[in-house]
Symmetry: C2
Subunit: 229 residues, 2 copies
DNA sequence: CGGAGCATTGAGACCGGTCAAAAACAGTGG
DNA sequence: CCACTGTTTTTGACCGGTCTCAATGCTCCG
């Protein structure tokens, strides 16, 4: 694997500060692979054999239980996933599948752990990464536990709106079924949620969303920096 | 602060592997304090000035939003809390209060971060701790997103039953109001949940719970090692 | 014995889920 | 360009779980 195959990898917070030899060693052991959409990459319950980095495309993390399925997160370039399982040499707690054609870097867990043991800068980078992931997770948990579905939707729309700054409208980055699963609601309910938010100036056409009066929606959503950041 | 004031601290996974000088430095900067019950230790939104370690007693982590309040976790001896906020030099995402008279060790964040930067073993210990906390958090999130309230209750009872191995009955470690909040339900609903579980051999008298037929309850609960561990 | 707080129970409302069907949409091949 | 097909989204009707509010019972303590 040639380093110039990997724009962005070395720049990732996770790999930026580690020393050159360690990085080379990691990349040497790694595989860069292309996957079509809807390929299962990992399955919850199986041992964490690889750390994954999404270079291109998109990966959906999800979990199944008792006939239900829920989306736990979407991973977009360039970032890694299931770091915690790799570090603890444990079993995956989430399944993962591509939602579009993707290029994925797979780094064997043993190599991650070996370098983690000897490269202090890498260990510190992992700390920072995990601490961040953990805080994101807490926020999602609070979001789910403290807010009704429609407020979760409103806040998600506001977040998307703010990311596509200035523009009056934006595109939903995934289909509505997936969005519903992320928000912890059914597609039917999401649909009704959109209908309700029309009264607050939200217009949905296909997957294009226009927010007429952001302040109005913001008031309804009860944004909270300790949940929405 | 004398080290022999602190049984268990040095044995914590977080501090076990760090070198003696670093540990002494940390303990030197730390405060060991006694608090009565119902004292607010930290408030969400404020900067993380200290890492906390519960030596004796119990601390409830909780969060408020829009007039609601929910319990995010209970910290019992001997373990630390809000490590992620300290590492990221960020704001607390949870509030914390004692639920009984407690002895708490408070270590200034700057000292944690300083030693984290220079002691590789400590950095690695933090990684392991955060990775574990993260996985516990994921499980809680899945629990909430994938299961109805009564199944969360059933599984929680089974977990408590298993912890008090062999014994036919056990005590709820907190009052029912708190248990309800942990489980993400109202006290009224918890009460009805207990009533429903009577049909599966669960008997509740005060805060003493007896499970007549564990297998029966287990079948109902749909235990899942990827949620309940 | 009385009061405070906690736990339980009941009634009603609401949010969210299920099921079924219609409508909108995208992609395909004629 | 248009029918055809399969998928996604929406809508409607209905049901169940959960919350709220209120009243009652219980227990612990002063």
């Amino acid at each position: 694997m040639r380093p110039n195959d990997l724009p962005g990898i070395r720049d990732l917070p996770l790999f930026r500060s580690m020393d050159e030899a360690s990085f080379a060693e990691l990349m040497n052991a790694a595989y860069l692979q292309k996957f079509p959409r809807q390929v299962d990459l990992i399955l919850e319950g199986e041992p964490a054999d690889f750390l994954y980095v999404v270079i291109e495309g998109c990966v959906e993390l999800f979990s199944r239980h008792a006939g239900r399925e829920t989306t736990l997160g979407m991973v977009v370039p360039v970032s890694s996933f299931i770091l915690a399982a790799v570090i603890r040499d444990a079993v995956y707690l989430m399944s993962g599948r591509t939602t579009e054609a993707s290029r994925i870097l797979m780094i064997p867990s043993e190599n991650i752990r070996a370098i983690f043991e000897k490269d202090g800068a890498f260990a510190r980078a992992i700390v920072r990464e995990l601490a961040l992931d953990f805080r994101v997770m807490i926020k999602e948990y609070k979001n789910l536990k403290l807010r009704p579905g429609i407020e979760r939707l409103a806040n998600r729309l506001l977040r998307l709106h703010d990311q596509n700054a200035a523009a009056g409208s934006f595109m939903l980055p995934y289909d509505k079924k997936t969005l519903a699963s992320i928000l912890g609601m059914t597609p039917e309910n999401l649909s009704r949620g959109f209908a309700t938010l029309r009264a607050y100036g939200v217009d949905v056409a296909g997957n294009t969303v226009t927010i007429a009066d952001v302040d109005d929606l913001r008031a309804f959503a009860k944004m909270n920096p300790l949940i929405d950041q």
